[in-house]
Amino acid sequence: MVKARFANLVPLVLALGLGLGLSVFSVNAAEPTEPRNEPEQRLLEVLTLTSQGQSAAALEKAQELVRDYPNFQLAQLTLGDLLLARTRPLYTLGNTVVDSDESADALNDLRIESQRRVAAQKAVLPLGAIPQQFLRLSDTMRYAIAVDTSRSRLYLFENSPQGVRLVADYYASVGKLGIEKQIEGDQRTPLGVYFVTSKLQGTSLPPLYGSGALTLNYPNPLDERRGKTGHGIWLHGTPPEQFSRAPQATDGCVALADPDLTFLLETVETRRTPVVIAKELQWVQPSTQDSLRQAFDIVLMRWQEAKSQGDIDGLLSFYAADFRSSKKIDLSTWNTRLRQEITRLNGRELELKERSYLHWSDEDEVMVVTFGEVPRGDVSGPMRRQYWRHNGQSWQIFFESTV
């Protein structure tokens, strides 16, 4: 039996950068307990077997994978390569002829998808590290999401009394024309801090959205302040003819494979789940952010004190000159509002419960703050969301509203 096939698969292996002697991929900060990412895990198993020279086993597993997920185009490509390698050396990942620009693009997209999936699996995330944007998560924020667009990866975190831990991560597609959405129709995914505003089941949506969608609040108040337009930026699934999409494929939404999106739909809560979308996530140990967190604790405490004590001038100093609330309410109207609230408070101290701080830095340094404002003696109070900006010397609020 002719068996010398390993040499044929060298480009497949090299292109994937699987390195020497790796039979097990590096483990992420937390192992998912359910078999999520199953098709991706199986694909990576095929690639591992290939890199070990076990081409027959790899071929068998690849055939099983496409049998179960015939629309997983990357798996089909891998299968094609494994079959072709039985007959001749391969020169490239996806060793096929393309006869149209469309196909050439599709092939190139599949290669990038492959690299990104492998890279994400290989990435060693230090245990306990989280994206720096999650400066403080409230106890009621049971889940948080962060998207690293450069790595085509969405990360799901669980927040518990034990801390924040990574629960799962998925391959994700962004806008056709990339990131940094500015205007309606520019086919870019926005970067920033968002919240899940609602959940939509796939059955009530066109097939493009697959198993469903989680809507986001783009444009958020920071986006609006910057004059950004557009709407309908969601996390959603994939149309039936594809298992996953090209790294840059959507009109600006973030697209996941249906099983992954379904898990999010079943897991996260609307209105409380932050979604950070960044060009590249910076991972930090929470303890390294202690001083920043504590510094902001103090800022917020002073704001709370000013309001509780009815110190209207002191309170106003926390608000930027260009402050806006929803419905275009400006600072002078807000001033009146504050006075009314202070009167109602009648000297009772405010407790700020379920505080969260989401720290966003680009050309501005911004803190997206949410808390429940509960006057002493009351059972509950309004949920406030404030957007603070650091002006070089101090933090000031440029947007505030009730959630």
Partner: protein, 383 residues
């Protein structure tokens, strides 16, 4: 290259003695009874080898070979013993001599391949195993058919990967009919289907077979079926096509049909003619997978598409062309326009077939005269 993963190849421990001997013509006449007698004796040695008792086996073999130095069975077993004893170079030499004396035995080739692989000479191992398969024409054909099946299956998977419609299943003409039909050569097939009826200039360019180059046929059937390995693709005039198709039945190669008007005529050569001939030569080089000629058809000033560098583009073209078993390029409706004393434009329809993929598109080449030659400066689909 990751050298820590070597394929585990399997040594063969015995020759299939009776069948092997019946096909040997080279080394004298050996009676069947003598063969059987030898076969019985050798079982002692093969047992030793199975138990990895190389030293003892070598000792036994030394004695026996002293009496029968030319016995291929003993020589084979000696090679095996040497391999098991770790004497790779000696074992290789033993098997190489065996393959020279008995080129029709598959087992020495197999074991040679095992030894080459152990020395990390994987491509040499591959070639040697291909030789092993070719010692039996039936296995050779079955192996080729298997390769074609894999290629076809790969093609289907690729189509699904790229979400391309794969209903064109006549692309890869199955070689499964090869053994019965001596004259169903790729070339004849294309010739038979060539567009003799077209009024416009139709030129069929026929590909030479296979890029791996080592299809040096060892048996007569294959020699009839495939053109000689180094024959370049021939240009056949439309009018002579059908005549050539019938004539090829008896000849060794359809490519030997005399091209009626392909070479540059002595007088009255117009610029259009020479430009057209350059285009045809480029297509021939492509089909023949002759990278020097193909790449040499492009001017130094050629601008690769999508802004790629010249070297990156050459690398990609090489990857796309050299690996194919079979490329066919057909040009039709060729229109040459002379724009200037040194500049010409060629527009044509290009029908490409490469290992089960077909494409058909219009193409435009911009050519520039550099010295005596027309070289391509731009290549655009459509236009």
């Amino acid at each position: 290259m990751n050298t820590s993963y070597r394929p585990t190849l399997r040594l063969l421990y015995w020759l299939v003695a009776v069948a092997a001997f019946s096909s040997i013509g080279a080394v004298g006449v050996i009676s069947a009874s003598a063969v059987n007698a030898h076969a019985q004796d050798h079982s002692v040695i093969t047992e030793l080898l199975k138990e990895k008792q190389a030293t003892q086996a070598l000792a036994q073999l030394k004695t026996r070979l002293a009496q029968n130095p030319d016995d291929p069975h003993l020589r084979f077993l000696q090679g095996v013993a040497q391999a098991l004893d770790g004497q790779n170079k000696t074992a290789i030499a033993t098997f190489v001599r065996l393959t020279k004396d008995y080129p029709e035995l598959p087992e020495p080739y197999n074991n040679l391949a095992v030894l080459y692989a152990a020395e990390n000479q994987l491509d040499k191992a591959r070639q040697t195993l291909e030789q092993a398969i070719r010692t039996n024409p039936s296995y050779s054909t079955a192996h080729e058919n298997l390769g074609d099946i894999y290629a076809k299956m790969a093609g289907q998977a690729y189509s699904k990967a790229l979400q391309v419609d794969d209903t064109n299943s006549t692309q890869l003409q199955p070689k499964l009919a090869l053994i019965h039909d001596l004259f169903s050569v790729t070339g004849a097939g294309v010739l038979g289907a060539s567009k003799t009826g077209l009024e416009a200039d139709v030129v069929a360019v026929i590909a030479a077979n296979g890029a791996s180059g080592d299809k040096k046929q060892a048996n007569s059937i294959n020699q009839l079926l495939e053109p000689p390995a180094l024959a370049p693709a021939a240009v056949v005039d439309a009018g002579a096509a059908s005549a050539a198709a019938t004539a090829s039945a008896a000849s060794t190669s359809p490519n030997s049909a005399t091209p009626a008007s392909s070479t540059a005529p002595a007088n009255g050569t117009t610029m259009k003619d020479t430009a057209k001939e350059a285009v045809l030569a480029w297509a021939r080089a492509w089909a023949a997978q002759n990278m020097d000629a193909y790449l040499g058809a492009y001017a130094p000033s050629f601008r690769p598409p999508s802004g790629a560098s010249r070297s990156a583009w050459e690398k990609e073209r090489r990857a796309r062309i050299v690996g194919k078993r079979n490329i066919t390029v057909e040009l039709s409706n060729i229109e040459i326009t002379i724009n200037d004393s040194d500049v010409a434009t060629a527009r044509f329809r290009q029908d490409y077939k490469g290992d089960g993929f077909v494409s058909s598109n219009s193409k435009t080449l911009k050519l520039e005269r550099v010295g005596e030659r027309w070289l391509i400066t731009r290549e655009v689909a459509g236009g």
